[in-house]
C-alpha cells in the first residue's frame, strides 16, 4: 500500500492511501507529493461512533463489579461462620458471623433464657459476648467460685476460634475465681460434654412435670371412677334385662326340644 503525502506541517502530514482514505501521520521529513510506504499513522478512534450501548456497559462494568463485591462481601460477612454452646448452668447457643460478631444467641434451657434476657449482643465480638455472659452468670448466681464452664463448638474446624475463646475466658477469670473451663471440639462425644449436675436439674424439672401429670391423672381418675360406677349400674340393669330375655329363650327352646 502506498500513500501520497497531501499536506506537510511541522508536527504532522496528511496522507491519502489507495483506498481513498485520508490519515494524519508523523512527519518524517516528508514533502508534498512524496509517495511513502510505511507511515506512522495517528490512530484515533472516532469518539462519536464509540458511544454505543456496549461502551456504556463497559464503562458501567467496574462500578457493577464494585457494587457486587461490596454487596457480596456484606452478605458474606453477615453469613454464619460458626456456632458454639456455652454451658454454665444456663445453656445458650451462640452463633457468630464471618466478622466474628455475634449474630444470634439462643437459650437452650430456662436459665439460659433468663441469662440472655435484656442482653444486647448487637455488633459485639464473640469473645466479649461470652465474657459478658459469664459475668452475668456470676452476678445472677448461676456460677460461683469453683464452678465449671463448658464450651462446645458446633462447627467443624474452628480450633483457632475455640483457643482464642479459652485464652480470653481464662485471662478474665483466673485472678478472681477458681473456675474451670472445659473446651469441647466438634468431634467430642456429647456424653463427654453433658454435665451430671445439669442432668439432675433437667431430671428434677422432668420429675416435677411428671408429678404434675400424675396429680392431674389422679383427678381424672377420680372423675372416671364416678362415671364408671354409674355406668356399671346402668350396665347391670341392662344385663338383668338381657338375662331375663335369654332365660325366656332357653325355656322356649327346652319346650321345643321336648
Amino acid at each position: 500500500m502506498t500513500y501520497i503525502v497531501m499536506e506537510v506541517k511541522t508536527s504532522y502530514v496528511v496522507i491519502l492511501d489507495e483506498d481513498g482514505k485520508f490519515y494524519y501521520a508523523a512527519n518524517m521529513n516528508y514533502h508534498v507529493g512524496d509517495k511513502i510506504e510505511k507511515p506512522f499513522i495517528l490512530n484515533i478512534e472516532d469518539k462519536k461512533e464509540n458511544k454505543s450501548l456496549l461502551s456504556y456497559i463497559y464503562k458501567l462494568t467496574p462500578i457493577a463489579l464494585v457494587v457486587c463485591l461490596v454487596f457480596g462481601l456484606n452478605v458474606y460477612n453477615n453469613s454464619v461462620l460458626a456456632s458454639f454452646i456455652l454451658k454454665i448452668n444456663p445453656e445458650v447457643e451462640i452463633i457468630i458471623d464471618h466478622r466474628n460478631r455475634v449474630k444470634d444467641i439462643v437459650a437452650n434451657n430456662n436459665d439460659g433464657f433468663y441469662l440472655i434476657q435484656d442482653y444486647d449482643h448487637q455488633q459485639k465480638d464473640y469473645k466479649v459476648v461470652t465474657e459478658e455472659l459469664v459475668n452475668r452468670a456470676l452476678e445472677l448466681g448461676y456460677l460461683d467460685d469453683n464452678g465449671n464452664i463448658s464450651i462446645k463448638m458446633l462447627t467443624k474446624g474452628m480450633e483457632d476460634l475455640s483457643n482464642e475463646l479459652n485464652v480470653t475466658l481464662d485471662n478474665s477469670l483466673k485472678d478472681d475465681y477458681n473456675i474451670t473451663i472445659y473446651m469441647y471440639d466438634y468431634d467430642d462425644e456429647l456424653d463427654d460434654f453433658d454435665d451430671d449436675n445439669d442432668n439432675d436439674d433437667l431430671d428434677e424439672l422432668d420429675d416435677k412435670d411428671d408429678q404434675d401429670d400424675n396429680d392431674l391423672d389422679d383427678i381424672d381418675d377420680m372423675d372416671d371412677e364416678d362415671d364408671i360406677s354409674n355406668d356399671q349400674e346402668d350396665l347391670d340393669d341392662g344385663d338383668d334385662e338381657l338375662n331375663d330375655i335369654e332365660e325366656d329363650d332357653n325355656d322356649d327352646n327346652d319346650e321345643e326340644d321336648n
Binding site: 506541517k9 511541522t10 508536527s11 489507495e18 485520508f22 518524517m28 508534498v32 495517528l42
Partner: protein, 242 residues
C-alpha cells in the same frame, strides 16, 4: 495548579483544530525532545524520526485527553513513550529488509548486487518530475477545495473510519461514476448535490450529510485535471463500477 489549568484550556481548543494543535506542539517541542532524549538515551535532534513520532504522539494526547486522565503533560509523556516503543517494534520488524548490497546474480565471476539495478539518474529525474507534478496537482486540489470552504485537515477529520460507513461511501462513488452529470452539478453549484445522491445511490441522507466534506474531496478528484490522484485511488474505484 493554575499553569496546569491553562494547559488544559489550550489542549481543549487544540483538540478541535489541528492547526492550533500544530502551533501548540511547536511551543512544547522542547518538552517532546526531552521525553524522546530520555527514551533514546541520547540527544534528540530536529530531523530525527523519533522526534516526529514524539510530535504525532503529542497530537494523539491532545485529541484523546480528558481531565480524568490526570495531568496533561504526564499523559502526553506516557503516550510519547508508548508510541516510541511502537515505532521501535515497527523498525525491528523491518530490520530484515533486503540490503542494497545483496547479491542477486552470479555470472562470469561478477557479483551483481541490488545497487547495480537501482534506478539510474534518468529514473531519479523521472521520479523528481513526477513528484513535482504531484505537488503541483495537490496545490491545485487544495485551491479547488478552498472554493468549497474546505481544507485538507477537514477531509482527514471527516474521513469515515468504520468499514460499514466506508462501504456506503463506495456505493455513492459507484453511482457518481455511472452518472457523471452529478459531478457537473457539484462543480457548478460548488456544493454536494445531496438530494440527488440519496435518491440515486440509496444511501441514507444522514450518512451522506455526515461525510459531506470527504465526499466532496473524493468526487473532486474524479473531475478533470487530477490524473495522478485519480490514478492513485484506483483501488477505491476498481470493481465499483456497476
Amino acid at each position: 495548579m493554575n499553569e496546569e489549568h491553562l494547559i488544559v484550556k489550550e489542549v481543549k481548543k487544540a483538540s478541535k483544530d489541528i492547526n492550533l494543535a500544530d502551533i501548540m506542539i511547536r511551543k512544547y517541542l522542547p518538552f517532546i525532545k526531552k521525553e524522546v532524549a530520555h527514551f533514546i538515551n541520547g540527544p534528540a535532534l530536529d530531523n530525527m524520526d523519533e522526534v516526529s513520532i514524539g510530535m504525532i504522539a503529542f497530537h494523539e494526547a491532545i485529541k484523546t485527553y480528558d481531565s480524568s486522565r490526570g495531568s496533561f503533560l504526564n499523559y502526553a509523556a506516557l503516550l510519547i513513550r508508548s508510541r516510541l516503543i511502537d515505532f521501535t517494534k515497527m523498525y525491528y520488524r523491518h530490520k530484515d529488509d533486503v540490503s542494497l548490497d545483496t547479491k542477486i546474480d552470479m555470472k562470469d565471476d561478477h557479483d551483481l548486487t541490488l545497487k547495480d539495478v537501482i534506478p539510474s539518474k534518468e529514473d531519479l529525474n523521472k521520479e523528481v518530475i513526477e513528484k513535482n507534478a504531484t505537488a503541483q496537482e495537490l496545490t491545485e486540489f487544495k485551491h479547488n477545495l478552498q472554493e468549497y470552504g474546505l481544507k485538507l485537515s477537514d477531509i482527514a477529520d471527516n474521513c469515515p473510519k468504520q468499514a460499514r460507513t466506508f462501504d456506503s461511501m463506495k456505493i455513492v462513488f459507484s453511482y457518481v461514476l455511472n452518472n457523471p452529470d452529478i459531478l457537473k452539478i457539484m462543480m457548478n453549484k460548488k456544493q454536494l448535490p445531496i438530494k440527488d445522491l440519496v435518491k440515486g445511490s440509496g444511501v441514507s441522507k444522514k450518512i451522506i450529510e455526515r461525510h459531506r466534506k470527504y465526499l466532496v474531496a473524493i468526487l473532486l478528484i474524479q473531475t478533470n485535471g487530477y490524473d495522478i490522484l485519480r490514478d492513485h485511488i484506483k483501488v477505491l474505484m476498481k470493481g465499483e463500477r456497476v
